[in-house]
């Protein structure tokens, strides 16, 4: 018996490890969220949201992002390319979802919203993501934010007042509330036509495939449209 004991111990630990890993994987496997019709209608009514692309576009990509989140920064470049490639077929909505453990994320969201009050939201959005590595690591993020505002030609006095004002805070809070109500827990969380893209598919190839699928879905005739 003693001769076989090490084999038994090793096999037992192997089985326990594989079993525990399987249970953990099942528990961690993300539930794909979807936006209900009511929530989708709420979204259309909001005048606070930041939209790029035509309102009639067949595909809507709604992103919940955090300006200091590295994966959001990583996907922002490819998303811009996707927007250019799909043109009028795609509409992009960006929602602020800053995490408290990202030191400058909330401030960055305020900066973007303050730029938005002067009509330069998307320019600041793109700039913040492009420069993420600099201001995230830098000793004085505020100074860099001000320099970005100057680059975009914003009126500085108004910009600084707006950052501390209630309007931008209300906008960011509204986005966060919407995210929470949908069950968003991580960033980037991307919804394509109200269906969440799984975290493993947050790469340019999979996103393009999901958009193509949504376009095909839209092109299919609805059951009501089929003649009797």
């Amino acid at each position: 018996m003693r001769r076989f004991l090490p084999f038994i111990i090793v096999a037992l630990v192997g089985f326990i490890t594989v079993g525990a890993a399987t249970v953990l994987y099942r528990a961690k496997r993300p539930v794909t969220l979807s936006i209900s019709k009511e929530k989708a209608a709420e979204k259309e009514k909001q005048d606070l949201m930041h939209v790029r692309g035509p309102a009639q576009a067949p595909v809507t990509l709604e992103e919940f992002g955090d300006f200091q989140c590295p994966p959001c920064g990583k996907i922002s470049g490819p998303l811009l390319e996707i927007e250019k490639d799909y043109g009028s077929k795609l509409r992009v909505i960006f929602r602020n979802f800053p995490f408290p453990n990202h030191q400058h994320a909330l401030e960055a969201a305020y900066v973007a919203e303050a730029a938005g009050l002067q009509g330069r939201y998307w320019e600041m959005h793109d700039l913040l993501y492009r420069e993420q590595a600099n201001w995230s690591e830098g000793p004085d993020a505020k100074q860099l934010f001000n320099s970005y505002a100057r680059i975009l030609g914003l009126e500085m006095d108004r910009f600084e007042t707006d950052i501390a004002g209630p309007t931008v805070k209300a906008r960011v809070t509204a986005d966060q509330e919407r995210g929470k109500s949908l069950g968003v827990k991580a960033t980037p969380s991307i919804f394509i036509n109200n269906q969440e893209v799984p975290p493993k598919s947050l790469n340019p190839t999979a996103l393009r495939a999901a958009i193509d699928e949504a376009l095909k879905e839209k092109a299919r005739p609805t059951p009501n449209a089929v003649p009797k």
Partner: protein, 155 residues
Amino acid sequence: MPSQSKSRAQRSTAIALPRGTVVVYAVVALISLAGLADATYLTVQNLAGETAVCGGSPDCFRVLGSVFSKIAGIPVAAIGSVAYFAVFTFATFAAFGYQRARTFLAVTVFIMFLSTLWFLYVQAFLLHAFCRYCLFSAAITFLLTGLIVATPRRP
């Protein structure tokens, strides 16, 4: 000639070890289980896609979502799981007196030690971020290395 075949047989079969040496190998096996749990957790996180999004520690993402976190498409954490399981296996067999297992154990731990040094360098100087799970694994590997070095070579 007879002594040669005897030595070969000694290496492949179990021999009696001093109690102290058996205890050291048993401790090595137990410590490797902690490393196995840590590496398996990170492997599952990777497979579930959690390292592709923010929501946990930003520093952990910087490390686990970096280009250094995979080798030929295989998550480093998965390689770590295999390595810790190998350490557990060799340490268990060594505790039962298998001579060859001691050599395999020493070689595996040495490779893990060198890999740990590389990954600490990557975190400190290339990524400028430390992941606590990776640091825990590094501490375990250092502990295992210390124990293996301190174990007497001959029974």
